[in-house]
Symmetry: C2
Subunit: 347 residues, 2 copies
Amino acid sequence: MKTCKVLLLGYGVAGKAFARILNKTHDDILKGKDIDVKVVGITTGSRGSLVYQDGLDLAEATRQLEEDGCFDPKGPYYSKIDSMTAAEMLDYDVLMELTPLNIFTGQPATDHIRAALNRGKHAVSANKGPLAWHYKELRDLAKRNRCGFFFETTVMAGTPTFNMAHHCLQFCEIDKIEGILNATTNYILKEMAKGVPIDTIMKTGRELGFLEADPSMDTEGWDASAKLTVLMNVLMDADLTPDKIDRTGITGVTAEDIAAAKERGNVIKLMCRGTKDADGNVTATVRPEEIPAGDVFAGEDLVAVYSLYTDLMGKLTFLQYGLETTQTGYGVFADLCRVLDFMNGAV
Amino acid sequence: MKTCKVLLLGYGVAGKAFARILNKTHDDILKGKDIDVKVVGITTGSRGSLVYQDGLDLAEATRQLEEDGCFDPKGPYYSKIDSMTAAEMLDYDVLMELTPLNIFTGQPATDHIRAALNRGKHAVSANKGPLAWHYKELRDLAKRNRCGFFFETTVMAGTPTFNMAHHCLQFCEIDKIEGILNATTNYILKEMAKGVPIDTIMKTGRELGFLEADPSMDTEGWDASAKLTVLMNVLMDADLTPDKIDRTGITGVTAEDIAAAKERGNVIKLMCRGTKDADGNVTATVRPEEIPAGDVFAGEDLVAVYSLYTDLMGKLTFLQYGLETTQTGYGVFADLCRVLDFMNGAV
């Protein structure tokens, strides 16, 4: 039996959802893959850290954060170690980067992942910053050091995307990607189309917990641009950063625009589009567009969607439903499974 | 460098499409996976066979069939060997079962696959018969003999399904499957909804090459039932055969039914539904149902679709577009890639 020692950097929504799934599946993993997965460290920015080589009790860690707001400083495994030091110093097999996103720099998440890969440790990132800004460097570093480097969650949570393309679209060329990649703006536009005033939408969204106090990363199209960047860099071998995307957010979209679109049988969606021509030139746009109301992309209950256009398999469309945080946790878990398969000899 | 010797049983639409893709990707496979893929045998029912251990020229094999209607009996690699003897006697690493389907028995395809697996050879099946009737036996035989056994094409051609679930939905429980799995009836119902008379639809379908002279396997729901069986046996660990599905075809659907459904804002589709309850009891139906016109499943340009309902990832929906035979060939090719990864140590 092998052991896989996991270091979690960050323990927010994704981390806690991942912990629930890992607790539920631990014994099945042991049986199916002959690997004992142990979380040996959890770091947070301001709520303390936990370190224990024999494996932390994840349910207890979650309980402490939810009930006390921080890890118990008097607990036996409490530590003040910060994420960067943990990445550089602790003994682990896979680092899971779950710290808050800085969409304009990808830091300090990129440094965490670099530290892990430089030490020959596998890395999983739920954080799209490192992917949007430094994908090729990190990919090449992982390859040189024979490490796994996976990031399923960065686009549409656990919806099979990067892992799917790696395994199921081998040797396909992808020359076009279309998507609605930002769930928040999709929600806002849907509510606006129902006639709900924008202030009410924002208030409700904040109460439901998926709208930030400052939602401009979503409404200005930065989040969608970062996701389109990751999709295009990984799946089309593009060399983009989010600032190179031709980007228009939804802040200029008015209730009148939506009503006028409806008159024409259309709905307004924040569409992401990427293409690559035969010479390898890429174009990438994020902007509000009118979509026919009957189109798959216009679906009422849809959270997000992408279509890939390939040479060997034609067009493929994948839809995401449900804004459940468990899907984010599952994406991280799916990447852990890839690490475990990698440890067992998979490619 | 390793070698992977491929035996193709059958060389119809799927075989020729696979051959085109393999010819195009052979050198990239060699570079990416360090395996030299060679087709060492092709058998057909009545058009002769070809056998050559150093690897056949696939473009030339296709040319002979298309121009002469059979392999050249005077050619250097011509053979009269039949599929069963080839499966039992030839030297190969992976058998690809591409012979015509017998939907009521799964034979002789099942015997071909048994022969390969019993000899410790990998097997790929584009033929859904063996999967619909003997999946668990073949799966267990492959496992005992440490062989790969893959069958992506059996449902929705190369659309990522079984390989996707294996790699990307690890440890998920699937308790519900919905799908429109038969492209032919989906086409017939769509044309009927446009007001095209059924005789014209059948004539056009035959001319376009996707309607059999006797289309009853499609119109009576047998093809859809076989596919639902495979999905449920593989993804839900059910123990079905096609005759156990509660099956109603589309032959009873009239233009009047379709018009009446339209009045209600609906379209008629041949829906496949499978569920598994908490006690492990399964129910499976294939029948014409009314679907709201705005539903994803009602899409005009859709060829086929499935939704999976999972415990950890919620609902996932995958859409197939384009009736291209290349997608069938790609599904077979995707399975070959899994065999190659298996040979390289993948799980």
